[in-house]
């Protein structure tokens, strides 16, 4: 299809404007994190690193970050096990109810977080009658992180086919040996990608968390939410926001390196 040069330029400009729209607010937060004015007023008149210092010395912030980290790690490990099992069963076998199970795993991210949140809150407190705690929070997070591992492993297993696994069984390897020596090494990269997504999803989650965490539990997103509206804390929230954006780039960079190394 032949396109006029002027058309290309026009679309290029439009693409540039959209990119500007995507990145400008993030740049504003970065600049605000060193804005000398405590109300974060613009134009910026002076630069300060006071907020960065305060962020690193805030005990509440640090413990919130640790809580989020812990929850995300546990949720990711459980998701790795459950997601892989589910992917193996659904990729290797054809049976009645397969699409229903597929739907079941996807449902928690297809429905809005508030529906998942209130459903689990209601089930925990009204139906089962247990108090909201770290346990209920992790159970809730696993429910919506299984799908990331499942999706990645399912797709990878589909590419691989199952001849090598059959060969392994023919040569006398048991189920576990086959998984350990044949299947696992070849799905490693997809497990890693799935785990990163699961971790990121859990680390960043706020809606389901609000409904399923005990009163005394403060994750990083909840800390941000609580401090955003306090005038003297707003600059520190900017610092946290910048750190979170930077941290979010690490898994992205890692996943690109790992997938290109292994495959």
């Amino acid at each position: 299809m032949e396109l006029k040069k002027s058309t290309k330029v026009l679309f290029g400009i439009a693409a540039g404007i959209v990119l500007l729209f995507i990145y400008a607010p993030l740049a504003v937060v970065l600049i605000n994190s060193v804005n000398g004015d405590a109300t974060l007023a613009w134009p910026v008149r002076s630069v300060t690193f006071e907020w960065w210092g305060r962020a690193f010395h805030s005990a509440g912030l640090l413990s919130a970050a640790l809580t989020s980290f812990g929850v995300a790690i546990v949720a990711t490990i459980v998701s790795l096990i459950l997601g892989t099992l589910c992917a193996l069963a659904l990729q290797r076998y054809d049976f009645f109810g397969k699409s229903a199970i597929n739907m079941l795993v996807i449902l928690p991210i297809a429905l809005p977080g508030i529906v998942t949140g209130i459903a689990l809150n209601n089930a925990f407190t009204t139906m089962v009658g247990i108090k909201l705690s770290m346990f209920t929070l992790i159970v809730a997070h696993v429910t919506f992180t299984i799908v990331t591992v499942y999706n990645n492993v399912f797709a990878r297993l589909g590419q691989l086919g199952q001849h090598t696994e059959e060969a392994s069984a023919d040569l006398g390897a048991g189920v576990w040996t086959t998984f350990r020596l044949v299947t696992f090494p070849r799905i490693k990269s997809s497990l890693f990608a799935g785990a990163l997504l699961a971790f990121a999803l859990s680390f960043d989650e706020i809606v389901v968390t609000t409904f399923t965490a005990g009163q005394d539990i403060t994750t990083l997103p909840i800390w941000i939410m609580n401090n955003m509206f306090r005038p003297h804390q707003a600059p520190v929230v900017s610092v946290v926001a910048v750190i979170m954006v930077v941290i979010s780039l690490v898994p992205l960079w890692l996943s690109q390196r790992v997938t290109s190394d292994i495959d």
């Binding site: 299809m1 032949e2 290309k8 679309f11 439009a14 693409a15 959209v18 990119l19 995507i22 990145y23 607010p25 993030l26 504003v28 937060v29 605000n32 974060l40 007023a41 613009w42 134009p43 997601g83 099992l85 069963a89 076998y93 049976f95 199970i101 079941l104 795993v105 297809a110 429905l111 809005p112 977080g113 508030i114 529906v115 998942t116 459903a119 689990l120 809150n121 209601n122 089930a123 407190t125 009204t126 139906m127 429910t143 299984i146 069984a169 390897a173 048991g174 189920v175 576990w176 960043d204 809606v207 609000t210 941000i224 939410m225 955003m228 900017s238 926001a241 979170m244 954006v245 992205l252």
Partner: protein, 291 residues
């Protein structure tokens, strides 16, 4: 045979694939069914219960009052309408914004520029939902950067309110809309477009009659994200919405403040039904397979 006898479990599983399958499925499906399906069903049932007016405790007396109120009370209707308005408008704007950049990425950019653009568009997906909403709170604040830019022209920051909510919803889900539309544009074979022009169609006609119909599933796939994600969102309304109430706020207030689980459950059915209907309508386009 000696090998086989050594691994009784493995050979048993090999001879009984159904058992093998269920051995794999029992944990994940058990988890999802016990935690999630039970919770969803429980939510439905709770919507039919009532709250004691004096003690505030949930009572297992059956009633349709919550459902009737959620679906007919003018307060709930107004808020549902507003939430739908936000979700639809944000989705339409997202599609309009996504089109030119997706088209440019897939059909005009050089391979190197395309790779870079894909990274630039998908990176913000990782940047965290709350961080992005907070970023807009800073941009839109009364003494913020937008106000500074508009002041010389006699304007002001639009501030926090309905407009800000729509703007931020557009912003949050834009990368989710660009990606499937880009993929759809990219998958259209060049030969098809050449055939069209060989047959005498001008570029405009080729785009309208050949290219656009083929990317409809991609557009729909993108719209599912922006529509359902903004429909259930209440955090954004809390951060930049000022006094703007959306469905999520009402559900949240019913549970968190009023402790009225039955009413909250009834309200939660509203977005579930809307999204269910939407998914049913779009499933015919084959978009669900592109998620």
């Amino acid at each position: 045979m000696k090998q086989r006898a050594k691994k009784p479990v493995s050979s048993f599983l090999y001879n009984h694939p159904t058992l093998h399958r269920w051995a794999l499925l029992v944990l994940p499906v058990g988890w999802m069914a016990l935690v999630y399906i039970v919770a969803l069903i429980a939510l439905l049932i709770t919507a039919l219960w009532s709250v004691n007016e004096y003690t505030g405790a949930v009572e297992m007396t059956w009633t349709f009052d919550n459902l009737i109120q959620a679906f007919t009370d003018s307060l709930y209707l107004t808020v549902t309408e507003r939430t739908l308005f936000i979700a639809v408008l944000a989705t339409v704007i997202d599609i309009i914004l996504a089109f030119p950049i997706a088209f440019y990425m897939a059909r005009m950019a050089s391979p190197r520029a395309r790779k870079l653009l894909v990274i630039l568009v998908s990176t913000p997906l990782w940047a965290g939902y709350l961080v992005k909403a907070y970023a807009w709170r800073s941009v839109l604040s009364g003494s913020g950067v937008l106000d500074m830019i508009l002041r010389p022209f006699g304007g002001h920051s639009p501030g926090y309110g309905l407009f800000a909510v729509i703007l931020v919803e557009v912003y949050l889900w834009l990368p989710y809309v660009i990606t499937p539309i880009y993929t759809a544009f990219e998958q259209v074979p060049e030969s098809l477009l050449e055939a069209s022009s060989d047959l005498g169609a001008r570029s405009g006609v080729t785009i309208r009659k050949v290219l656009l119909p083929m990317i409809v599933p991609g557009v729909v796939a993108g719209s599912i994200f922006s529509f359902s994600l903004s429909l259930g969102d209440y955090i954004v309304a809390g951060i930049v919405g000022g006094k703007t109430q959306v469905l999520g706020n009402i559900i949240y207030t019913d549970v968190g403040v009023a402790n009225n689980s039955p009413m909250a459950a009834a309200c939660a059915l509203i977005p579930i039904i809307i999204i269910g209907v939407y998914l049913m309508l779009v499933s015919r386009t084959g978009a669900l397979k592109r998620l």
